[in-house]
Symmetry: C2
Subunit: 338 residues, 2 copies
């Protein structure tokens, strides 16, 4: 086991798309836990679209990373030192406040002990973690699906989207995927999506019209931008729109997001458009995990992960996600599982 | 009593703002009721922003008026001939399907017998009719106000807005009016709005910031457009946005509505934005009228109307509404009350 703690720190806020120069790699000693804390060794680090927001200065739902600070992010790993009576050496823990580093010093608050019986450890960052729980609560609570609803999901093969499509199926809905490229489309169909639409083909509106002859009842949006506009054209009376991600709005160098406005359409369709953040549902984690892990055990949920090896490749992995090059939930393998 | 029926018919669909040439005045014989119908003489006709939508060809929530047809609109008046056992000569009736004419032939469905004890007959088109009921249900059901909420209302002195502000006060909210010009602002303050903002002053954002230091919890929007954008900047976590009208989007000659997009903000604030149409609440009319008329009797609601005399001035009255020149609920007095 290494005795140094490798970290990625923010070097400077990027304008537009981040680059390899946005972060710098550093080495520090492995920390010791303070009272109530544990220190844990990362096996897997998570890479998620929200990270782009954390390196912008603008106000968002969380404090941004300051230049010089360790980059924020979630991870799962093994407790190596504990001053928290509820956690002992060898326990598996997950935290959204891990940071891009080998060794995290974790406060009790926000640290979740992971039950290895529920599934592979890395799922604590995906299907059985924030993305899976986001899919579960955002779709069921905010999307409010009914049997027979037509559900459209953007970024449909992504960390959240692939779970939404499968839950939609389990709920008796007709699920339509929007994703980029033949390989992702094929995977969406394999997952049980009733139709899959390629936003890169240049015929998004036509494909949508063909796939949703009866309109759209629930739109689970992970992108915003032109994909959003195309789906809005097809919403039904009392449609529900879940704003779960806005990856299309990232990486614009400072300019405001200008485009089609949907006020009239919202009124005419009496649609409901609502923002979602898992933060508001953390207290219902156990409820969601129970359901998701049961479906996983029963073989009713599958989950695709895109694995990059080595902490030194964290920036590269995030750029994959921001450009849509990843295929499934993006993870970085940092050290062997125990 | 006249024995001819004067009517306004749509001559041609306008491009942009309608003009006097948009409609043509015609005279026809007074009709006789068919089985189950009544014929009623208009005392008051209603003029509302939605009428602009009805003369566009584009899809909306209702069938548009075709050129040559009588212009659609609501009215209240006196039954002069009845073949409906539930209504007799002399009864006061209100209908959204009156049309711009002296004499309407009314089907049982959609015809409401008005109880003169509830308030002045003309209120059946305003405070105790569609606009008042819209304010009541849209604000309470969709806006979901809580005591202490900051509520911003656009078109705050209009047919709907003035009721929303007063109900917000009755519910223990802090109500902020947006209206145009000193006279309307003064009236809003008189109604009990805690602050009033002049959108014509060119300092909308600054005025909003000063009036809502603690942000905005409910935005009751009647305008869309730049006013909407300015309020969105100030919404609080879990804000509710009621899309009740979109008067700023009317009268644009065919071009798409392009402007600031709010996807990221919707997500970060976990806001809920929902369209409202009274159609969905017609079955709760009695419930709303009971409450509104009780408040009126108790002196807790006031209602300002803008009255134009003579059916020949219907187009002029609508242009007043579309340009914001009206002050309060726009009505046209067509014939004396019985």
């Amino acid at each position: 086991m290494t005795t140094i703690n490798r970290q990625w720190r923010l070097r400077a806020r990027p304008v537009g798309m981040p680059t390899a120069e946005t972060w710098e790699f550093a080495e520090t000693p492995v920390p010791a836990p303070g009272d109530g804390q544990v220190v844990a060794r990362a096996c897997w680090l998570s890479v998620d679209p929200y990270m782009r927001g954390r390196i912008s200065a603008g106000p968002s739902y969380a404090r941004p990373v300051e230049p010089g600070e360790v980059m924020q992010g979630g991870g799962v790993g093994v407790v190596v030192a504990s001053r928290n009576p509820a956690l002992k050496r060898g326990d598996i823990v997950e935290s959204m406040a891990w940071g891009w580093q080998d060794y995290a010093t974790l406060d009790p608050r926000g640290t979740r002990k992971v039950d290895p019986a529920l599934g592979p450890m890395r799922h604590a960052l995906g299907l059985l973690g924030m993305p899976g729980l986001t899919a579960y609560f955002a779709f069921l609570d905010v999307g409010a699906p009914r049997v027979g609803d037509v559900v459209v999901v953007s970024s449909a093969s992504g960390a959240v989207g692939q779970v939404v499509g499968q839950i939609a199926n389990l709920m008796g809905c007709r699920a339509i995927a929007i994703a980029g490229g033949a390989e992702k489309l094929a995977w969406c169909r394999e997952l049980g999506y009733d139709a899959a639409i390629d936003y890169k083909a240049g015929t998004l509106r036509e494909q949508l019209a063909a796939a949703t002859p009866a309109g759209v009842d629930v739109y689970f949006d992970n992108t915003a931008g032109p994909i959003f506009d195309a789906v809005m054209e097809r919403i039904n009376l009392r449609a529900r729109i879940v704003q779960c991600g806005t990856i299309d709005t990232y990486n614009r160098p400072g300019q405001p997001d200008v485009g089609l406005r949907h006020h009239r359409h919202m009124l005419v369709k009496r649609a409901r458009w609502q923002g979602f953040l898992f933060t508001d549902y953390v207290h219902r984690t156990d409820e969601g995990l129970e359901r998701l892990s049961a479906w996983l055990r029963e073989g009713r949920l599958r989950y695709r992960e895109d694995i990059v090896d080595g902490i030194e490749r964290m920036p590269e992995a995030l750029l994959r996600v921001l450009s849509g090059a990843n295929f499934g939930k993006q993870l970085v393998r940092v050290s062997p599982e125990p």
